[in-house]
């Protein structure tokens, strides 16, 4: 919520300035293009689950557009009622919070199918930026951003906890692989790659981190994590706080330089990939000095080069694949995971639709951090649940730990009885 010492007029001024700053060169194109034809509803998983007018993608975009028109167009300035232009009043700002944080994950599917072909998610992101600039990010999401800025990771995991997790995972891995060199490397300078993970892997899904370490070992990779900045996520991206997003990116790239690595590899995380691979250089305003890739691309490379040997018979259950929006629709990584899965599982089946046309699972956009929208989040996963059920798969490969959390919940709520696994876990299980 906005700082108490600010008057409503101060807040409106700050919001207006942020709006004008953020829309040019991006959302303004799209704000001028929507014809409010209303044909985008069925493309949105939230509208499909609850087809109320407020959930229509265009209605969410219209909340931002009403302010854009008020402050950035001639008619909106002088005849606001004609074009539905609104001032940044307290009530309007509250409605904006609900629309851009509570009813949209920024998944971008509606934009792909919009009759005009405009980027609704860019409009929503502009709305989030405005709200972030006046301190109106929902508490849970803001807390996650603050955790990242203050402690270096979104879950505020102390350094000692990371080190002890790395230690016991290394012990287990040594036993499994029968080699002293099989371990989780932390703070090792001069390695080839810096590996970033989702802190959930450290806290809740250590097998995922262990699987990655096992595959790196099998491939003879030289790699390390950083105990200071190992978090692949970037909640500043979700909250709309570009300053926070920039700082989180800067720290990691600085750490990569300090450790002297040649490449940054991102573990399976949709928005983390999008943030570091695509948005990061633009937040920093400069090109990266070294490549940043998804671990999926690396896994494909290992298989193609014969650096790891696998037997798909070791994964005999039917597997389907969930396409995280930020990795696939926004990130362009759709094929490496498929080529990998075709080699490491015996019975792979696609969901329909898939790839860039996939449905959001409902857990994106920072939804998992905003408990106030929890019921809507789970309800909005109904389309995804039906997609999964139709495949008859018993394992859903999910190259995103955010999506994994949501899919676990969907599996329980919709009685899907599926197991959720990262792609690297399936690769590890198939190792010879």
């Amino acid at each position: 919520m906005p700082a108490d010492d600010k008057t409503p007029a101060d807040i409106a001024t700050a919001a207006r300035e942020a709006l004008v700053r953020v829309v040019r060169g991006a959302a303004a194109y799209h704000l001028n293009a929507c014809v409010r034809c209303g044909l985008c509803g069925e493309s949105c998983h939230i509208y499909r689950a609850d087809p109320t007018p407020e959930n229509l993608p265009a209605a969410k975009a219209a909340k931002v557009a009403s302010h854009y028109r008020r402050y950035c167009t001639l008619v909106g300035r002088y005849l606001p009622r004609l074009v539905g232009a609104r001032d940044f009043t307290s009530a309007a700002l509250e409605e904006l919070v609900e629309a851009v944080y509570g009813r949209c994950t920024g998944c971008g599917r509606c934009g792909l199918h919009c009759s005009i072909g405009l980027d609704v998610a860019a409009i929503i992101r502009a709305g989030r930026h405005v709200l972030a600039s006046i301190g109106m990010v929902p508490d849970g999401l803001q807390r996650t951003v603050s955790n990242q800025l203050e402690t270096g990771n979104q879950m505020a995991i102390p350094r000692d906890e990371l080190l002890s997790t790395a230690e016991w995972l290394s012990e287990d891995l040594k036993l499994e692989r029968g080699d002293e060199a099989a371990r989780v490397y932390v703070d090792q300078p001069g390695q080839r790659i810096l590996y970033l993970v989702n802190p959930r892997e450290v806290k809740f899904f250590p097998l995922s981190l262990m699987a990655a370490a096992g595959v790196f070992h099998a491939a003879g990779e030289r790699w390390t994590m950083s105990s200071k900045f190992y978090d692949v996520t970037n909640y500043g991206f979700y909250s709309g706080d570009d300053d926070a997003a920039r700082e989180l990116t800067r720290r990691v790239m600085e750490e990569a330089r300090a450790l002297g690595v040649q490449e940054v590899i991102l573990s399976e995380c949709g928005h983390g990939f999008r943030s570091f691979r695509w948005e990061g250089p633009n937040w920093l305003g400069q090109e990266y000095p070294l490549p940043v890739r998804s671990v999926l691309e690396l896994l494909e490379e290992y298989l193609a080069a014969g650096r790891i040997k696998v037997d798909p018979a070791k994964n005999s259950a039917r597997v389907t694949l969930h396409d995280p929006c930020n990795l696939v629709r926004w990130g362009g990584v759709s094929e490496p995971q498929r080529r990998v899965l075709h080699q490491v599982v015996q019975d792979f089946v696609e969901m329909t639709p898939n790839r860039q046309d996939n449905f959001c699972c409902g857990g994106g956009g920072g939804m998992l951090s905003m408990s106030e929208y929890g019921d809507r989040r789970v309800a909005s996963g109904a389309t995804k649940a039906e997609q999964i059920r139709a495949t008859g798969a018993s394992i859903v490969a999910t190259p995103c730990h955010n999506c994994a959390d949501q899919l676990l919940e969907l599996s329980k709520r919709y009685k899907l009885g599926v197991e959720i696994q990262a792609v690297v876990e399936l690769v590890y299980s198939a190792l010879l």
């Binding site: 985008c40 069925e42 007018p53 950035c72 074009v83 009759s115 005009i116 948005e279 920093l284 990266y288």
Partner: protein, 213 residues
């Protein structure tokens, strides 16, 4: 038509065209700002993506909104083709009245068909509770204004009074064009192109495979 009146109204129509062109250009330049250079390493071709987006990407097979709303898609197509041809016909009337009159005479039936499509879309907007909630007065004004244009082209006689009314209407429409919703005539291209370029740069567009394979 009185030659003096003909020249005057055509001049005013030209001025309003210039206004629309300048105002829309200023808007596009303002929305662009100083542009945003992309510092990330490209993974695909923006221009191939733009080509895809304005061709295959617009087809119902690839566009869910068109697939699921075939009637609205068809009505929208007929309306837009009708409006575009009528605008071209009226442009010709300004540039060369004799050719313009001949072309507009041919356009009567297409204009009437497009008008029918426009009326259907107007009714849809007025009847659907979801669309009513979404619409601003400008949405109604825009469709009424285009229907008016089509009605002029479909039903006015091809005599001098008919020409005069057509040209006055054309002029007024051009004045309104950059101010309200009708500016999507330009922003459709700007917005779709911008989005497609970004997706192309990232290797999302054109899609590697159809999403249902």
């Amino acid at each position: 038509m009185d030659p003096w009146l003909s020249v005057s109204i055509r001049l005013v129509a030209l001025l309003s065209s210039a206004w629309a062109a300048v105002a829309l250009t200023v808007q596009v330049l303002w929305t662009r700002g100083s542009g945003r250079r992309d510092y990330s390493r490209p993974a695909g071709s923006p221009w191939r993506a733009v080509w895809y987006s304005f061709t295959t990407g617009m087809m119902p097979a690839r566009k869910e909104s068109a697939r699921l709303h075939a009637a609205e898609f068809a009505l929208g197509l007929v309306l837009h083709v009708g409006v575009l041809t009528c605008l071209l016909g009226l442009g010709l009337l300004v540039a060369s009245p004799t050719t313009g009159i001949r072309v507009l005479a041919v356009l009567r039936i297409p204009a009437a068909v497009a008008l029918l499509a426009g009326i259907c879309l107007l009714l849809r907007r007025a009847i659907s509770p979801v669309l009513r909630r979404l619409s601003t007065p400008d949405d109604y004004l825009a469709i009424l204004a285009t229907c008016g244009l089509l009605a002029c082209c479909a039903f006015l006689p091809v005599d001098s009074r008919g020409q005069l009314v057509r040209l006055v209407y054309f002029t007024a429409l051009l004045v309104y064009l950059p101010l309200g919703k009708l500016r999507h005539a330009v922003f459709f291209f700007v917005s779709r192109g911008n989005y497609a370029r970004r997706l192309g740069y990232r290797g999302v567009y054109p899609p590697a495979r159809a999403a249902t394979e």
